[in-house]
Amino acid sequence: MNKDQRSAGFWLLAAFFAAFVFFLYGPMLVIVVLSFQGPEGGLTFPLRGFSLHWFGKLAEGLGVVDIGAALKRSLALGAAVMALTVLFSVLAGLAFRKKLAGGNTLFYVVVASLIMPSIIVSLGIGLEFRLIDSGLKWLLEALGMTSTLEEYGSSLGLFTSALGAHLTWTLPFGLLIMFAVFNRFNPAYEEAARDLGATPWQGFRHVVLPLIAPSIVGIGMFGFTLSWDEIARTSQAIGDVNTLPLELQGLTTTVTTPSIYALGTVTTVISLLVMALAIGLAWWLKQRQNKG
């Protein structure tokens, strides 16, 4: 606003901003620092030595919890959520560019899912799959298929109810990004392709897709990291096994060694790695686009 000189207001606001950033990052840095303590280290300062001891303890497992298995489950679910979020968001984004009867209703449902308290969504999905279970069991009994009935566990699971629960959280973000992308999208390129005789598929594959590729990478990143850290929507909808954040939530009350900080450092590093990869990939796609 003040073009000539930084005003007192600027410095006041800058100080506020700096304090806010410090507030955001400070505690997390503390966790990272404390996770590198020596074997004598406790949950608080002062630091006692410097080692990778607590990461080793983490690899051995924390109490009864199999961290490795939970990590694999979270990675697998995150990858599936990422792929489906990208696919469904792009398809729906394309649909919204055309005349879509009922498009507004669909849009409101998606936004409603974004602001719905997660515990309600989670409870609903849990209920739905439990009712499916009872229905199936009743059906199997009615058909007299007792051996199948005995083997049947539950339809609640990582790639059924939990996957669905995660998608209700990641897809709104994906769709809103697609809207932002197509709002700035110049359809002239597509028209040119059509005029040159390209089929709709060719037009999409060779014209639209390269142009929106960096944003698609962004949607993938949203999909993975939102799923990777999700608790509230998964809590009632996952069944017998747990994802890493759910295990972590349980561990906060039982684990009293810095290995829980080590776990925090590991999950944070994975989140940041995925982000860095995505940003790097998006940047690379953009560079390639500019050259071509």
Partner: protein
Amino acid sequence: MSTSPTTLPASTQAPGRSIAAWWQAMPLSLVFVLFFLIPLALIGMVSFWDFNEYELLPDFTFKNYVSVFDGCSNMDEMCVTFKTYLSTFKFSFLVWLITLVIGFTVSYFLAFYVRSSGVQTLLFVLCTIPFWTSNVIRMISWVPLLGRNGLVNQSLQGIGLINTPIEWLLFSDFSVVLAFVHLYTMFMIVPIFNSMMRIDRSLIEAANDSGASAWQTLWNVIVPLSRTGIIIGSIFVITIVMGDFVTIGVMGGQQIASIGKIIQVQTSYLQFPLAAANAVILLSIVLMIIWALTRLVDIRKEL
């Protein structure tokens, strides 16, 4: 992140291809029907069901709703449900107020005081990065700071301000609010910053030229024009806090009640109809708050 239907991308292709469009929108629509609309309907249905220790019993009874408000006609002492809602409202209000003030100030600084757009983007991204890491990690990162032997207590004792450690720093209302602000101010910053970036800069210049002070410009130009962002951010923060059970659980040392926590506990005892009745009530209250928020704006716009 815009939620106004007017920002739906314009139809850029030939009209009359609704059927092809619906095939494309189908996977996404199916997800929301299967994992959002049907589950919500089931919650409504099951909230009228009966149950025993083993299974849900299809029925049409108001028993669950009655038991939610059990003892609430007693005027001398507030019933558990009212107490819980009161405490949840308190958290929602406090967190909303604090995140609004911080979020608005940060966005205002980024949008109007940072001159280069490169620096602007950089600082904005800096604020959003912590959002991508685990909420539980960000919660427990307060433990070494606020605990009985934490950094804050150690420092205060070190400089001789206090003799005994302050106990209310952790596992208290204070730590719950602090964690909420730490976790969710981002949800305020993004929509408010987005609204502010859309404000036509010539309006600010016009205000300047007409002799408005910085405060007058802020209050009479920027705040009204950031209204959409403020409302969207408020809806996010309030709905999150109203339904939360994780933050209140971890940061409250599992001692503070919330509606989300009640629902979670009831499902762990397989009392689904009770949990469903609680969810229906929570949902109605959240919807009323959202409705009031959007009303509030329209009324002020008309004045």
